[in-house]
């Protein structure tokens, strides 16, 4: 009898030319308790099922849709799922979250995870429910956006199915293609390319069973309390303006990456500000299933249509590319949605190309900072993998820089191959460490160390021991939230997060879990990711930032200079290794690795 909230098994689907076979993989209670679900359980599954050194785009590479014990409960923001695979962009572990009904239906197929391997002979869809998995050829879906594909399969298979699909970029294996459900993307690391490489346009799931909960009444009471707290001041920003509220604020505090990280303020920021757009273009607010926050803000587009805008897509396709016209940024965001592209990696790669073009390193005289039409043209070239520039940029900035050569790698805005999010490392030096050491690469969701930088409790321009502790702490909290799973926009409502999360898990699972156990769980998950990456060839040399960040200071409006030297970053990385019990090469001891239960 599995613990409450679990089925105690994953479904492993092997796709052949024209059919799929599936078999359950038992998940012991000890494994579930050690890794919870979501990102944590996905990491364990990758250790177990990904052959060492596997090409992420080869048939044996597994792609896991992973649910969690809280999915399907009335706890607000819990309808989320993780997608985990070896990244074609970084060659390391990547995990991305998306939300809503796919999570609930996927779990209620009767599995804690669905793992996909193999390759179909032609473009197909995979259907999973309580009876197992089956493959259906779907060549008619070729070239459709994910939203169009979702609509088409709903028409073909009926409304009972929930769908995660890829766009044309995933079919063409662009290395930062996404998987999306209901307009929300599992965005980072190229998971869409992994699914595309299996010739799978969409995965459909259908609820077929129920899941037992240890103490239903206690869960209902906890859900009521959490919902009430979710309406408080800690989530006001998300409700009132959404994540785009960051843009103008970050500009005011010199941490808005601009023109490929050559500046931290953008003179066109006010045109893209949530405050401005909300008044002029705001049309609706939306939320994921089971969410009481409702962070999604929808804006009208000039000429018709609507677009959901978030800070990260506006930063990446706006200031980072020097583009200030909101209609250009709206159009570019919409194009990324249609193609199924990670907006951060797309914007980062194009911003790098714009700089290379302006410096004469790339022969594309039309590609200039600030040119919205050029941005759209570049996106289309990437989506279609047009020979030449489109093919080059479809590889992401690190691979593209390796092709272009010269000093172009120094300004490629990436760590471990993953393009940086919208947090300037020189003015957010706890975040600089988080970006450098994170397993997924430059990432703001698995390491939220910017919280410490912006808290007013640390010197954000002078990284040191305090920033190390802060970075470890936010990484640990993210590991648990991403595995339970709860949306991080809730994090401000918890005063004692580990204790309060344990209090949510106890009535769901029936475990006597406490804060100390969850702290250990967090460290285990972080370590398991690092061990996977080391198995795939990552070394301490990968725990760094682009040379530009370490050699070019930024001048602030206050007259002070923000500098992050290589020595300072190295010292923080060494502190991070010590804090995590790693050796000087960032490796765990054999005893620590053995305690990860990676063998089962």
């Amino acid at each position: 009898m599995p613990a409450g909230g679990y089925f105690g098994k994953a479904l492993v689907v092997d796709i052949g030319d024209r059919a799929a076979t599936s078999a359950p993989l038992a998940l012991a209670d000890a494994v579930l308790r050690a890794y919870l679900g979501g990102v944590g359980l996905g990491t364990w599954l990758l250790h177990r099922l990904a052959p060492a050194g596997v090409d992420p785009l080869a048939p044996p590479a597994p792609l896991a849709f992973v649910f969690s014990p809280l999915v399907g409960t009335p706890l607000t923001t819990s309808a989320k799922f993780a997608v985990v695979a070896k990244s074609p962009l970084t060659g390391l572990l990547t995990d991305a979250l998306a939300s809503s009904r796919f999570a609930i239906a996927g779990k209620l197929t009767g599995h804690d995870a669905i793992v996909v391997r193999g390759r179909a002979a032609q473009l197909s869809v995979l259907l999973v429910d309580g009876d197992g998995a089956r493959l259906e050829a779907a060549p008619e879906l070729a070239g459709l956006s994910a939203a169009e594909a979702e609509a088409a399969v709903r028409e073909r298979f009926g409304r009972g199915w929930q769908t995660a699909a890829i766009g044309p970029a995933g079919e063409r294996r662009v290395r930062y293609a996404t998987i999306s459900h209901d307009g929300r993307h599992a965005g980072r690391g190229g998971l869409g390319a992994v699914l595309g490489a299996k010739n799978i346009k969409a995965v459909l799931v259908r609820a077929s069973t129920r899941v037992a909960i240890a103490d239903q009444q206690a869960v209902l009471a906890a859900a009521k309390d959490l919902r009430e707290r979710s309406f408080g001041p800690a989530t006001a920003k998300y409700r009132e303006l959404g994540t785009l509220a960051n843009l103008l604020a970050f500009n005011a505090v010199s941490t808005l990456p601009t023109r490929n990280f050559t500046a931290a303020t953008f003179d066109g920021a006010h045109r893209l500000a949530a405050e401005e757009l909300h008044e002029l273009r705001g049309v609706a607010r939306n939320s994921c299933a089971s969410c009481s926050i409702g962070c999604e803000h929808i804006y009208s587009r000039k000429g018709g249509g609507q677009q959901r805008m978030e800070y990260e897509n506006v930063f990446a396709l706006g200031p980072l590319c020097g583009v200030s016209d909101p209609d250009d940024v709206f159009a570019a965001s919409a194009r990324c949605d249609e193609l199924g592209l990670d907006t951060i990696s797309a914007g980062g790669t194009i911003a790098w190309a714009m700089e290379c073009a302006e410096r004469g390193l790339i022969d594309a005289p039309w590609l200039r900072f600030g040119d919205g039409a050029a941005l759209l043209r570049a996106l289309d070239m990437i989506g279609s993998r047009e020979p030449g520039l489109g093919e080059l940029l479809a590889q992401g900035s690190r691979r593209a820089a390796a092709t272009v050569g010269g000093a172009s790698i120094d300004c490629a805005p990436q760590v471990k191959g993953l393009e940086l999010p919208g947090y300037e490392p020189r003015t957010l030096q706890a975040m600089a460490l988080g970006l450098a050491v994170n397993a997924r690469g430059a990432d703001h969701n698995r390491s939220g160390a910017y919280e410490a930088d912006l808290s007013g409790e640390h010197d954000r321009l002078n990284g040191g021991a305090a920033q190390v502790v802060a970075a470890v702490g936010t990484e640990d909290r993210a590991a648990v939230m991403d595995s339970m799973i709860l949306c991080k926009f809730l994090r401000g409502v918890f005063d004692e997060p580990f204790a309060e999360w344990a209090a949510l898990l106890r009535p769901v699972t029936g475990w006597d879990v406490d804060a100390a156990e969850l702290r250990a769980t967090a460290r285990r998950i972080v370590l398991a990711k690092r061990v996977f990456n080391q198995r795939e060839g990552a070394t301490a040399a990968d725990d760094t930032l682009p040379r530009r960040m370490l050699e070019t200071p930024l001048e602030l409006g206050s007259g002070r200079v923000a500098a992050l030297t290589a020595d300072r970053l190295r010292a923080m990385v060494a502190g991070y290794y010590a804090e995590r019990g790693l050796d000087q090469e960032g490796r765990p001891s054999r005893e620590a690795e053995a305690a990860l239960l990676l063998g089962g």
């Binding site: 509220a245 005011a252 405050e275 990260e312 919280e451 007013g456 926009f489």
Partner: protein
């Protein structure tokens, strides 16, 4: 004054706190307060360090030697000032420290408002042994030090050639000190500085968008002026620099204060 000037109340804190906090927000390096042996100090910002003079009664040269020695290896030069400069502006501090762009300068000394200003001046930290030697020889006056090292003098015109200083402190009020009760009363009677306040994100809802000019000598006063409570959901940045919610952070003319949501996720 009848009591230590550093402990005099100033806009909700003390003159010493105001001076130390202002220097901390201005320079990138350490900020030290040199205390007399056994001296009790009013509250200081957390990042400010305190070092004690080994002996009492030898005047500012003793404190100068102690402070510069404590900075050995941590900073090549220091801005050194007394605690009784209630209008000290970061623009003056920056202008003085820029004098060390000349590698031959040992001391950068304002000579303004009719006086030499050795307690609002810049000193190379490497001068500490020389000052100790002079003290040992009984030379307790700064003027003796200046005879033995290279001094760059900054007169009023030179100081005000700096466009930031000319704009933000045109009367060089940074160099006004309070020696007598009347000086203190006159300083307190001056209006608080004009600063620009802007609210962002959820704090700007309800028609609160855009910059507002208010008079406020501290962050707490600026927040109160626009109806913001500096609780855990709010942080502020002055001129795009450090994040803080310290209500006692001193503000000066020309500052821009951004108030934003403490949750930066997204």
């Amino acid at each position: 004054m009848g009591r230590p000037k550093g402990a005099l109340e100033w806009r909700g804190s003390t003159l010493l706190h105001r001076t130390a906090a202002l220097l901390h927000r201005t320079v990138g390096g350490p900020v030290l307060v040199v205390a007399a042996p056994g001296q009790e100090l009013p509250a200081l910002p957390a990042a400010v360090e305190v070092v004690a003079d080994p002996v009492e009664g030898l005047g500012p040269m003793r404190g100068l030697a102690t402070g510069l020695a404590a900075l050995d290896g941590r900073a090549p030069a220091a801005f050194v000032c007394s605690t009784d400069l209630p209008f000290l502006h970061p623009a003056l501090v920056r202008r003085v420290l820029r004098g060390f762009a000349d590698p031959d300068a040992d001391v950068v000394l304002p000579v303004a408002r009719g006086y030499r200003q050795p307690l609002a001046a810049g000193y190379r930290t490497a001068l500490a042994p020389l000052i100790e030697k002079l003290l040992a020889e009984g030379d307790l006056r700064p003027g003796m030090l200046f005879r033995h090292c290279r001094v760059t003098q900054l007169d009023d015109d030179t100081l005000l050639a700096d466009p930031d200083l000319a704009r933000l402190d045109p009367a060089l009020d940074s160099l006004v000190n309070v020696n007598e009760p009347d000086d203190y009363a006159a300083a307190l009677a001056r209006p608080e500085p004009e600063v620009v306040v802007e609210r962002f994100g959820a704090l700007a809802s309800g028609g609160q968008r855009g910059p507002r000019t208010v008079r406020a000598a501290s962050l707490g006063a600026a927040a109160a002026a626009v109806g913001i409570a500096l609780d855990r959901h709010v942080v502020a940045a002055v001129n795009g620099d450090q994040m803080t919610r310290d209500p006692h952070l001193p503000l000066v003319a020309g500052d821009t204060v951004a108030f934003l949501s403490a949750d930066a996720g997204g």
